[in-house]
Amino acid sequence: MSVELLAWLVPLPPVLAFFIILLFTKRNNRLSHIVGLGAMLLSWAMGLTLFVAAVSTEGLAENPITSSVPWLPTGSTWLEMGILVDPLSAATLFFVVWTCLAIFVYSVGYHNFGHQRDPADKPGLPPHAGGVDPIYARFFAFIALFAFGMLVLVLADNLLLLFMGWEIMGLCSYLLIGFWFAKDSAKRAAVKAFLTTRVGDVFFLLGIAYLYSATGTLNYQAILGNEEVLHQLASTPAILGLSAATLIGLLIFIGTVGKSAQFPLHVWLPDAMEGPTPVSAMIHAATMVSAGVFLLLRMFPLLTVGFEPGHGLTTTMTVIAVIGTFTALFAATIAVAQNDVKRVLAYSTISQLGYMVAAVGVGAFVAATFHLITHAFFKALLFLGSGSVIHGMEHGAHKSQDHVDPQDMLNMGGLRKRMPITFWTFLLGGLALAGFPIVTAGFWSKDEILSAAFGENRIVFLVLALSALLTAFYTMRQISLTFLGKPRTAAAEHAHESTWTMTLPLIVLAFFSVTVGWTGIKRDFPVIGGIVPPWLEELLGSMVHGEGHAAGFAFTPLATSLVVALGGLGLGWLVYRRITAESGDPLVRWLGPVHTLLRRKYYVDEFYAVAFVRPAYWFADKVAYWFIDRKVIDGVLHAVARSVLAVGAFLRKYIDLLVVNGFGDLVGGGTKRFGGWLRYVQTGRVQGYLIAGMAFAVLLLSYLALTRP
């Protein structure tokens, strides 16, 4: 089988699984997850084969694996759809298939497969006593479609196909966040996620349209691999003194802001935690949010056109860097004050995505990609770990009849003894997130972003370092509150380890959370540089021709990342190691109103509610419904109806009754009257008739005789 064919086939099994499950096997849970898992396993195997084939290709960056088919006739040319496997998509594919597979396996355990269905459970609500989910099969259909969307997005060779994958994921994210649709909060979160990302998508689509009108193609290689096109885009003026390249770059970036939950469109992501935990892992780690950053990396040559390392940032890059950096710090500060185990991770995801975006903003392509990959592994691990914790807590709550919120970290504590596998894997994931030096993957990728920022812009560097400190702090806070100390509730006391289908993915992901980082250790790093060849780094570096990975080893950023990681972890441990049920969170006392501000997420949701949601409701109710619908449209309709009635009444009165009926009556009545007169002729006397006949004959004959020529 050729490599190109393989690349075409990789996304296929999940979408087939989606249809098979929905159409045929929905009623059978076992068959459904076999179909879903089997499809993912097939994709995984093909994806890894493709990955190996791709990385073993010499000069993959210059000669990527491509294949396309003419798809849509556009006048004299064809819009081509195809696949492209270059270092970026190969690396992305690697983590996507691994995390997706892990999440698929995890979902089996998470949705309590193998337990009896509890008759009290209703479809659309989480099982309340450990029974299998009533709509178990549907979940696998949705995540299969989701995986399909992501694989399409990764392997696409043009922006339109990417956008299709992007939108499929948007749909699936809506369906999956709202998987427990009978919960009002889940329903709202699903709508919020869909609408918020939609804002970004619209701008993204505008960017695509503008790019297409400017270049006549959406193929990456035709645009990004062509210096002339890039140069021409950069020199074409658009509006507001921006060049076409800048405007397109900004529009595409807004798409990323929506999808990757950057400020100010980040609000949907924390709410999306209403979905089942595997969904949180899928959307917030492996796939959808990564897609935004992946898009930025994909369009990197366009975004950074005109950028020379060390000579200041271009407009596009400045915007990207500012948004990314701000989001990184902003979300990290919120994460410090959250008590919901999943919300902490959600804000940490936003923060880490901000890191990647900032890295793109300072032109650090390799660092951003590297962090994207490591983050996908350790964040998927953390989410799945938190799901395992919640599962254990739910079980404990059910068993001890102590019905506390199973997601509130203040109700946990001491879980390391009850859930050892979850604890150790979560610890590894947490350390990776915090950037624990040398061992974890997060350290290497974060360090690389910091050193790139250090070389380019000191402010970005400082803010990112501060967020790294906060990251380490809230990570340790989470680990301490969840696993260390003593159980603070009876539910935590009775928690138990999850089944193997849930712990096995944790172990696999923990393995990658550690080892993936080693493929990016720079050769000139002291002591351990070069022990593991940095092939991932070099593979990705080959895409950018000297740009981006120029930042070599530097001491200051390394020292900074060591200090912030260890300092944050140490601080978190000091503050939170001895929290009891009574003492509560010491930060509340120390920060006072600031803590409230952070806990309420800077009131962004409230602000949006006042600024957008309520005006939208008001507009919908008063303007759209009451004025336009009731007054204008109904008014016009009623006016039309009334005038039609009036015309009808007029026609009836003066045309129908008078003319038509009159004429009809005239004909009928006239005939009748005439007949009435005429019947007197009918005397019944034969001789009378004869006389008449004679008279007529005489008349006729005399006429003929007279007129005879």
């Binding site: 019947r679 007197y680 009918q682 005397t683 019944g684 006397r685 034969v686 001789q687 004869l690 006389i691 004679m694």
Partner: protein, 102 residues
């Protein structure tokens, strides 16, 4: 030889007598007899025209015989009708047989 016009005059007179009988008599049988007179007046015409205008052909005689046959059957049907009416209404007066009146 007697000129054609005399025959025509005879036929005309006979027709008028018959017509008068048909129109003026009240008895249905007498009306029928008047009709016979009119038919025979026509026969005289037919024969006279044949003899004087086209003696080589026999169409006049043929027509006359046809009229005899028709007159005979007509008289038979007519008398039968009159008898039938008489049996029902005990009258043969034409103006009393006005069942087709409005």
């Amino acid at each position: 030889m007697i000129p054609l016009s005399w025959y025509l005059a005879l036929a005309g007179a006979l027709f008028c007598i018959g017509l008068y009988g048909v129109l003026a008599r009240r008895n249905a049988v007498a009306i029928l007899m008047g009709i016979e007179l009119m038919l025979n007046a026509v026969n005289i015409n037919l024969i006279a025209f044949w003899r004087y205008v086209t003696p080589a052909q026999i169409s006049g005689q043929a027509f006359a015989i046809m009229v005899f046959a028709v007159a005979a059957s007509e008289a038979a049907v007519g008398l039968a009708l009159i008898i039938s009416i008489y049996r029902r209404r005990m009258t043969v007066v034409a103006e009393e047989i006005d069942m087709l009146k409005w």
